[in-house]
């Protein structure tokens, strides 16, 4: 493939790469720097040669996944370096995570009446508080619509690990919603569905038909 053609195809993924960079760094300036580094590295002749060796995965989707992989590698290489400094961000390498593996099913709520748009801001806040590896798989799964296998190739972990991170992240988000009184109200979620005591806005108990 001609280098100019390849560069054009790669730059068509600029928005997607920026999205990933932004969610990893949570900072627009750092995201822009990361994106720039991704493309400079990706368009070196040796990198292009390695990409072309992938055979039939060289379409637009393949280029995007490949750029995501480079973005992931650059970000975490830098993070590892920073973790050795005195002011390291410890969350990246929390080997002693106390999170419990989700052992219960998703909630069986009637979502027909949900008004998710009312909780977009809250949900964004919950997501921002997640670990970067959880945010990363959520972004690839939720925004980019990638399959587990594709995500596993990008972040270079087994599919089981992808599923584990995704399921934990989703469980955490669901739990946050339940615990957030405002979110519950905004979502239009009946407390009956939560199996919690019924209370009116003043916090006083009241009775309500459950049918």
């Amino acid at each position: 493939m001609e280098r100019a053609t390849f560069e054009k195809l790669a730059l068509e993924q600029l928005d997607a790469v920026y999205r990933m960079a932004f969610h990893l760094t949570r900072n627009s300036e750092m995201a822009e720097d990361l994106v720039q580094d991704v493309f400079v590295r990706a368009l070196k002749p040796s990198a292009v040669a390695r990409f072309e060796d992938r055979g039939d995965e060289t379409g637009a989707g393949g280029i995007r996944s490949w750029l995501f992989t480079i973005c992931h590698n650059i970000f975490y290489t830098q993070a590892k370096r920073e973790s050795k400094a005195p002011s390291a961000v410890g969350e990246f390498f929390d080997q002693q995570s106390t999170e419990v593996l989700p052992d219960d099913a998703p909630p069986a709520w009637d979502v027909a009446s949900f008004d998710w748009e009312q909780v977009d801001g809250r949900l964004k806040g919950y997501i921002d508080d997640l670990r970067p590896d959880y945010r990363e798989v959520l972004m690839l799964w939720g925004v980019e619509g990638l399959k587990y296998r594709e995500i596993a190739e990008i972040v270079d972990v087994p599919i089981g690990t992808v599923m584990s991170r995704l399921h934990r992240a989703r469980k955490l988000l669901a739990d946050q919603i339940i615990q957030d009184k405002g979110a519950v109200q905004d979502l239009g979620l009946s407390r009956l569905a939560l199996g919690q005591p019924l209370r009116n806005q003043d916090g006083q108990s009241s009775q309500e038909n459950s049918s």
């Binding site: 600029l14 627009s28 040796s46 390695r50 069986a108 979502v111 998710w116 997501i127």
Partner: protein, 316 residues
């Protein structure tokens, strides 16, 4: 509805993601029949996915980012073209301080970039070289003598140094990008003229499908200046049904300067018995010493063929 087990929980989420295999789907259908409300769990997960997509949506890259990226790519290419342009005037009195290479790299490398400064990283790389090799001073003492006079220890230390550099550049992209200041084939000659004051004979190295990973200055023990070049070489031809296998080989090129013990155009093994785990060949040609480091004998055979070097029939 009974509380599902962990396996069931994963099953429901995977069902929501349309990630079930045929077998898993059968298990899911069985679970649904026994627990009709599980459908609501799946529906919740699907709506959560849409909500996550909306919450994590970013409008797009800033308007000027594309321009900045293109400018960075052009700067990167210009840095390598600048070396090629410079070499055209071979009689120019080149003052190291006037060379644009450092300034060009500084222009490309921005202060707020993820990358640390080039100078700082080169200093770290130099410190690692001194610690890891351990042969710097001992080989320098023997630099004026013929290679046959080198002891087994010194030959092994040199082979270890070369194989370690080959490994580090092949496995650490950051280390490689700091060392290899040129990544375009067109910049090789200028780089070599500047660093080792000669043009190497590379024969058919790139015409046979080799791709340059990079070339840059390297501190191979000895009095002569040296460069390290890494190349991706095809081991087999690609076909309709098969992708070519590639391997990384390293070629270190050093000014001969006092290394009189090698017969020109004769290839020697620097690591007989492959104690380093790599194939390490050495030969001398037109006042330059070439060290070839490959992961396998097959790769070495291909590399020697393209460089028109016979297989070694003796060791140093």
């Amino acid at each position: 509805m009974t509380t599902p087990s962990l396996n069931t929980a994963s099953l429901l989420r995977a069902a929501a993601d349309n990630e079930l295999t045929a077998e898993q789907n059968a298990a899911f259908q069985t679970h649904l029949k026994a627990n009709p409300k599980a459908e609501a769990c799946v529906a919740f997960e699907r709506s959560l996915r849409q909500a996550v997509s909306r919450s994590m949506h970013v409008d797009g890259a800033p308007a000027d980012l594309a321009r900045r990226v293109r400018a960075a790519l052009e700067d990167s290419r210009a840095a390598e073209r600048g070396l090629a342009d410079q070499s055209r005037d071979v009689n120019a009195d080149l003052d190291e301080s006037e060379l644009p290479l450092v300034e060009t790299i500084a222009h490309v490398t921005r202060d707020r970039s993820f990358w640390a400064s080039v100078g700082g990283r080169l200093a770290v790389a130099a410190a690692v070289l001194l610690v890891v090799s351990g042969v710097w001073y001992s080989i320098a003492q023997l630099s004026s003598g013929p290679i046959e006079s080198w002891s087994d220890v010194n030959r092994m230390q040199l082979a270890s140094f070369l194989s370690e550099q080959h490994t580090m550049c092949g496995s650490d992209p950051d280390y490689a990008s700091q060392k290899f200041t040129v990544s375009e084939i067109s910049g090789i000659e200028a780089c070599c003229q500047r660093l080792i004051e000669q043009s190497p004979r590379l024969e058919k190295l790139f015409e046979s499908g080799g791709t340059l990973v990079g070339i840059g200055e390297c501190g191979v023990p000895g009095p002569g200046k040296s460069v390290h070049m890494q190349v991706l070489m095809p081991l087999s031809k690609s076909s309709e049904n098969q992708i070519a296998t590639r391997t990384t080989v390293s070629l270190f090129i050093q000014q001969a300067m006092g290394r009189d013990g090698i017969d020109p155009e004769t290839c020697y093994s620097l690591d007989e018995g492959s104690k380093t785990g790599f194939v390490v060949d050495v030969w001398q040609r037109d006042g330059l010493i070439y060290y070839l480091v490959c992961d396998t004998e097959e790769a070495a055979s291909v590399a020697r063929s393209t460089l028109k070097v016979a297989a070694p029939n003796q060791s140093l």
